[in-house]
């Protein structure tokens, strides 16, 4: 979620050591029957008034999923998930009209207010025009996904004038079937992996972005996800397409209320960049991480992949992962266009009983492709954090380059930090460099800060922010402020 002033205030004013977004909005929900079967999928597809081809696509994914085994090679451990004991579709009952904010359930709006999401266009505009105390900022278009359904998309008009399509993916399926048919599943095929197949079968909403040739998207786009209802999995699907010379910056924010049961979140994000197109995808993820004993919390099993299909295309992933009981994701780039560029900047923070296994894959298919990976991992409490990344230079990747740097910071002696890079080179002219370090916060640095009057927590916060600077500077400015705040919050109680 964009780090607007309201958010920061919300963070500051709400209580101290508990999860700040642990409120549950009491709105009536419509559920699909519990469990997963072809009937559930038909139900979802029917409720979303999808065309026949979409239902077929989902069923194909479901059949692929049924034949697949849940992966078990990863580091995080979690109790078996009962896929039949969850709801796959939850929809706020008073479905708001997508065009007008007035029709949105006021309860829902209040939820966003608590979160500091700039839903009200006026509020946002005020933010732009306001001088003095209020920070000037660019307008941000928001697509808010509440449980499974996209409830409102702001700024659709302005965007339409620029030729940019930004809408819930369910609308896109109905209104732009030719684009969806062409690109959906083209980066992450339905049977790519266990969770991607599950997502393809049951995804209920998400965002769709299409930036036509030569267009620079006039504002930052943002999706905001929130898991609200009990026992619901959130399966959203994001598809972003940038035609030749188009540019877009996309922000994704996630929160979930506090729960006892673990909630599954298995999203799929697909990016397609054509010649000279640029996509910047930034994520700040602070799903509920569970309590000190690891009870509750979100399982964040996400497949994110971008394809640089054109020459000199660029895809940049930036993520700040502070939430979730388990984070398990590898935003990847397939560099198929000559001279295309992939970037991955990541900060992953784990505390208490959190587990994170995250990193990236850079697949260099074409000549002169370049990739950069900067991953910062911070472990505290009794948590475990793993960087796992693949760099693969294929035989045609002449002159390709990769640089990878992974640094881990351990806070306390009950946590773990792990680095597992995979380097595969099939071209002699391709060059791969990898560096990794693991250390703790040095006594000298702490002493320096403490002797200047900083409390131990502030000192740690300062040092951690410095440690993450290389990544945070890649975030859009508003996000960066929020991210710094989140880092500090996540590490609360880990020192002293």
């Amino acid at each position: 979620m964009p780090a607007v002033t309201e958010t920061r205030e919300a963070v500051e004013t709400l209580g101290q050591s508990t999860y700040k977004w642990g409120f549950e909005t009491d709105i009536e929900m419509d559920f699909a029957p519990k469990g997963l079967s072809e009937d559930t999928i038909r139900f979802i597809s029917a409720r979303k008034q999808e065309p026949e081809w979409m239902l077929d696509w989902r069923l194909q994914a479901f059949r692929a999923w049924q034949a697949m085994e849940e992966p078990s090679w990863q580091k995080p451990e979690y109790p078996a998930i009962d896929y039949q004991d969850a709801f796959y579709f939850a929809e706020p009952k008073n479905k708001p009209g997508p065009k007008s904010l007035d029709e949105v359930d006021p309860e829902l709006l209040r939820t966003y207010e608590k979160l500091g999401i700039p839903l009200h266009e006026q509020a946002i505009l005020a933010g732009v025009e306001g001088a003095g105390d209020v920070e000037a900022r660019l307008p941000v278009a928001v697509d808010a996904v509440f449980d499974s359904v996209s409830v409102v998309t702001t700024f659709r008009k302005t965007l339409e004038e620029a030729g940019v399509i930004f809408c819930p993916i369910s609308d896109a399926i109905r209104e732009h079937p030719e684009l969806v048919k062409r690109y959906l599943g083209s980066v992450v095929p339905v049977s790519d992996n266990f969770f991607a197949a599950l997502n393809s079968a049951v995804f209920t909403d998400g965002s769709f972005v299409y930036v036509p040739e030569g267009v620079r998207c006039p504002m930052e786009l943002s999706t905001y996800f929130r898991i609200n209802a009990r026992n619901t999995g959130q399966f959203e699907r994001t598809l972003i397409i940038c035609e030749d010379r188009a540019t877009v910056s996309y922000l994704e924010g996630c929160t979930a209320p506090m729960r006892d049961e673990n909630q599954l979140h298995a999203a799929v994000v697909e990016l397609v960049a054509m010649n000279d197109a640029k996509i910047k995808y930034s994520t700040v993820q602070n799903w509920y991480p569970g309590d000190e004993n690891g009870k509750g919390g979100i399982y964040n099993f996400v497949t994110k992949r971008g394809a640089c299909r054109g020459r000199n295309a660029k895809i940049s992933w930036t993520q700040v992962e502070t939430g979730s009981a388990i984070t398990w994701k590898y935003p990847s780039c397939i560099l198929a266009g000559e001279g295309s560029v992939g970037e991955f900047y990541s900060v992953a923070v784990t505390n208490n009983r959190q587990q994170a296994d995250t990193g990236t894959k850079m697949i260099h298919l074409a000549p002169n492709t370049r990739s950069t990976i900067i991953a910062k991992t911070i472990s505290a409490g009794r948590s475990d954090s793993t960087y796992r990344g693949l760099v693969r230079m294929m035989p045609k990747a002449r002159g390709a380059r990769n640089f990878t740097q992974c640094d881990s910071l351990l806070i306390g002696d009950q946590c773990g930090a792990h680095t597992v890079p995979y380097i595969e080179n099939r071209n002699m002219t391709a060059r791969v460099e990898h560096e990794a370090t693991t250390s703790k916060i040095s006594e000298d640095q702490l002493f320096y800060c403490r002797s200047r009057g900083l409390s131990e927590e502030d000192a740690v916060g300062l040092i951690v922010n410095g440690f993450c600077k290389d990544v945070l500077k890649e975030l859009p400015m508003e996000f960066a402020v929020e991210a710094q705040k989140l880092l500090q919050l996540s590490l609360e109680g880990s020192v002293g």
Binding site: A417, H418, I423, N425, R431, H434, T437, T438
Partner: protein
């Protein structure tokens, strides 16, 4: 998975010779490791699975002597133990009086396929114990294989150093024809003892070498190893080293020089199970033609192992369009006050460096040779024993000459 898995010809041939026991039933149940196992993803044994391996024929002392002269000339004099086709050649063996020969008793590591295979078809190898405070000097351990039919050897060696004992083990493996060598070496280094293990693997290019080393190092003990891999069509050198006492040190250094269709894998797991220990790893790959180099190195730091100092460097030089490298340096760390780092680089010879040398009148081939040797020096220079260094250097030189010719 349901139903019985059909046994591969290789596994059947091993089972027909296997000793009864846990290792045999594990081998029968699991077969040879497949790609699906994370630790074996880069080194598939599909081709090996298709070949049945017989027990090797015994050879006469004269044949053995000629073979040593041909394949391990460095071990023609001095203290040595010679095995040909999995059998001790007593006539060629000469051990110093300071070491005690003991029966080999090595533990089965059920989660390590190479330990399982070695244990199942085990042949007793070289078992020695160096008494406290004794410097046993240098011993060459020569393992050779020859024969017309595909045969396999599964020698189990064991070296135990008591407190403050010292030994340099020069481990030479070579052979002729098609065969599988599957040796294991179990090392135990007591307090303040120091073992230098230099391994040269120059098996025939039709051969497979699957070697397994497991080492335990006590307080202030040192296990300093260097492996030079030049031979075998397919090879894997797997090292598990565990630092059990404070201030211990482990070095797992290696150089892999490969050409043709060779595939060589260096896999190591260094476990820091005590505080204040040091581990060092420098691994260099020089890959020509369609060669495939693999490096998997893991440093595991247990909670208790504070003040660990771990360093790992893996570099590969690709000298041909078809050469490939897979590298997976891994850190798994559970202690907070540690200094661990790893680095990996992969690339071709630097054009600017080549140009620099060419501009000074050095011919292309020679310039390449200089750069390759310089690249290898970082690793080779870690061998401090002068005679051993000379031996390795000579083998590298001969290899390079043969390739460039």
């Amino acid at each position: 998975m349901s139903g019985a898995i059909a046994l591969s010809p290789a596994v059947e041939s091993f089972l027909s010779r296997a000793h009864d026991g846990e290792a045999r039933s594990l081998l029968q149940r699991q077969g040879l490791p497949q790609r699906r196992l994370e630790a074996w993803r880069y080194t598939p044994l599909r081709d090996l699975d298709k070949t049945g391996f017989a027990a090797p024929q015994s050879v006469s002392d004269e044949e053995a002597e000629a073979l040593v002269a041909r394949l391990a000339p460095e071990a023609q004099d001095g203290h040595r133990v010679v095995f040909v086709n999995g059998t001790l050649i007593a006539a060629l063996t000469d051990l110093p009086e300071t070491v005690r020969v003991v029966p080999v008793a090595v533990p089965l590591l059920a989660d390590r396929p190479l330990s399982v295979l070695n244990s199942a078809v085990q042949q007793p190898g070289f078992g020695i114990r160096v008494a406290a405070g004794v410097d046993a000097g240098k011993i060459a351990l020569v393992s050779l294989v020859t024969g017309d039919e595909p045969a396999s050897t599964h020698l189990a060696h064991q070296v135990t150093l008591e407190e403050k004992a010292r030994l340099t083990l020069l481990d030479i493996q070579s052979g002729e024809g098609t065969y599988l060598a599957n040796p294991s070496l179990t090392v135990s280094v007591a307090q303040e003892a120091h073992l230098v293990h230099l391994r040269v693997q120059q098996d025939s290019v039709e051969a497979t070498n699957l070697a397994f080393v497991s080492a335990e190092i006590a307080e202030h003990g040192i296990y300093d190893s260097f492996t030079l891999t030049l031979g075998a069509r397919l090879s894997r050198h797997e090292v598990l080293a565990q630092l059990d006492g404070k201030h211990g040190a482990v070095h797992v250094n290696a150089a892999q020089l490969l050409g043709g269709a060779q595939h060589a894998d260096l896999t190591s797991v260094i476990t820091h199970a005590a505080p204040d220990c040091i581990s060092r790893q420098t691994v260099k790959n020089v890959l020509m033609d369609g060669a495939h180099g693999v490096f998997q190195g893991k440093i595991f730091v247990d909670r208790i192992a504070q003040k660990t100092d771990g360093y790992q460097m893996n570099q590969a030089l690709l000298l041909s369009e078809k050469a490939q490298i897979d590298s997976k340096p891994e850190l798994e760390i559970y202690a907070d006050d540690v200094k661990c780092s790893h680095g990996a680089t992969v690339g071709a010879l630097d054009d600017e460096q080549l140009f620099y040398l060419r501009a000074r009148g050095i011919p292309q081939a020679e310039a390449r040779a200089i750069l390759v040797r310089a690249f290898l020096l970082d690793a080779l220079a870690l061998v401090t024993d002068e005679a051993a260094y000379a031996l390795l250097d000579q083998r590298v030189e001969a290899w390079w000459q043969k390739r460039e010719a």
